[in-house]
Symmetry: C2
Subunit: 338 residues, 2 copies
């Protein structure tokens, strides 16, 4: 494939969580596939059998496949569990499909499969079906995984950006950017003053805790494109404005200093074990307490408010006291982060 | 990754439908993932919600991505629909996850996505969720797809090799080997006397027709490893012997002559739009008629019988009148056939 100028081609940024990825999906996929459920672009599709089911899929191409705090196996299970969880579903079953590169050490495969099992047990889901394909050396990069997930949507749970109202609070379940910085340090061999480990973990228990404690409008899994990416989508979908308060956004010391050095913004950096949620003003404190009393949610915080002004805009009240617009990222800051 | 001799590594044949692939799954995956449903290694996992659901996944790495009679998009939808169908389920929903290589012409992507939609419509399923990842040029081979599928298992449908009884008939819904030969001719630029096109098609209507007309013990989708591969699995799982009758095995003229030239055996060659079924002796004729009266099943045939002798053995009564054992293939005759 020569990069001839007269042919439109796939770019790395088509794979990020930003505008170009969105354009690719909206122009090339949705009009052709023409399905109303698919077109909602939710974290999971809700479909109806005798009961309401949630169905989701994601491929994982993270490089390197082992990084501080996790590996591609743990990532693949948690990513799919979390997509189900933030849609309001109880994750039940996961499928595992692997594309292996000829020459991959079996010890790497074993480590990844053990990690898949451990993460599934931690999340309380079963891996019930799978597939394995092998491609020639040079036609993949060690191992690519695709997981799909199936969950049950409890009666009464209806999450949607359309439920967001002025006055609602924006919550995050913990510090931002840990996954992106951990993968980056592993990839580039950069050592930061404080070692950063990925936050990759299942958050279905956190999602259930919030649903029990608060009036939840919607939840999102801030992976590619980070918290900024998914909040930009929410303000657009809900036709509201959201103002974030920079000083209340939890970021670990290690991530903060790594971002300073690298010129990255933790708001755009990928997470793999966090929830961003919008809840009613009246139940924000109760929701926050529910998260903070949970081991995975100790650093939870209210990071912003929904307003009537500037519908479709995400703004940030900065530390110095100014205010700036937070835009949808164009592509991913870091390719192959998940 | 250097091919050092002291490290166990993934081989191309680990990706075939044969013994080495089976060993990889049985030694490296099943003991670790430890799930009773996964361990059944069915075409689909049957799970229970308020009703019985079937869940399946497959990755597709076929090379080239366009071949006579189809492309990777049609293959990915049909493969998953067919896995659900042969397990006795009615396919309902499909997920689509794509790994794209940087530099892929957008026109190729568009063609594949249109093909996904056309195949989904043909099968009567909806594509309800998806994902897109992009990897650097050289880290994939154009496009890899992973589809998962969700179906409903009708009340009363219980298919299992354990239901197979001596005297049962082995049916195939049409000619064997068309997919493998079509892909091979596209890949190698070989022109055969008669052009061979892939049989890639959804067979959920054929599966339903057979279930209505006959007492079905079990059905299988003879993809990688071909009809021989899945029949070897069945005789082992059921503890019976099966004798095939070579003269009754439907093979098109084009496939026959291509196999002669290439030294391939159509029994081991991959199919992507066929069903191999075991049905009770008393209902074999009715099942065959149901298939033959269907546009996708005109070449259906009874190709063998289940016997008491030689449990665990698949044998072939050859054209000259001899009898030979048909072994499980070691690897795939043709890598990256699906």
């Amino acid at each position: 494939m020569n990069a001839k100028n007269d042919v439109e081609r796939i770019l790395m940024s088509h794979g990020g969580g930003g505008k170009l990825a969105r354009e690719l999906i909206e122009r090339e996929l949705l009009p052709v596939l023409a399905d109303e459920t698919l077109a909602q672009l939710g974290d999971s599709a809700h479909v109806t059998g005798a009961e309401r089911l949630a169905f989701t899929t994601d491929s994982y191409v993270v490089q390197p496949i082992f990084f501080p705090g996790g590996d591609i196996g743990r990532l693949a299970v948690c990513g799919t569990v979390n997509d189900l969880a933030v849609s309001g579903a109880r994750p039940l079953y996961v499928s595992l499909s692997m594309i292996l590169e000829e020459g991959l050490p079996l010890s790497d495969l074993r480590r990844v499969v053990r990690s898949v099992k451990a993460a599934a047990d931690e999340a309380g889901v079963r891996v019930v079906c799978g597939d394995t394909k092998v491609v020639e050396h040079g036609s993949a990069d060690g191992i690519y995984l695709t997981t799909s997930g199936l969950g049950r949507v409890p009666d009464g749970v209806e999450l949607s950006p359309s439920h967001i109202r002025p006055g609602d609070a924006v919550l995050v379940s913990g510090t931002l950017g840990d996954h992106a910085i951990a993968v980056m340090s592993a990839r580039e061999g950069i050592a930061f003053q404080t070692e950063v480990t990925s936050d990759v973990q299942p958050v279905n228990d956190l999602a259930e805790a919030l649903l029990s404690a608060a009036e939840v409008r919607c939840m999102r899994d801030p992976t590619r494109g980070g918290a900024a990416g998914i909040l930009c989508e929410l303000v657009e979908a809900a036709g509201v404005g959201i103002e974030l308060d920079e000083k209340s956004i939890p970021v670990s010391r290690g991530v903060r200093s790594a971002c300073d050095v690298l010129g990255l913004d933790p708001l755009y950096a990928a997470n793999e074990g966090k929830i961003v949620a919008v809840v009613s003003s009246a139940t924000a404190e109760a929701g926050l307490e529910a998260w903070r009393s949970h081991p995975r949610g100790r650093a939870a915080a209210v990071i912003g408010r929904v307003g009537k002004d500037r519908p479709g805009r995400l703004t940030l009240r900065t530390l110095p006291g100014g205010r700036r617009i937070v835009d949808m990222p164009m592509g991913e800051q870091l390719p192959r982060i998940c």
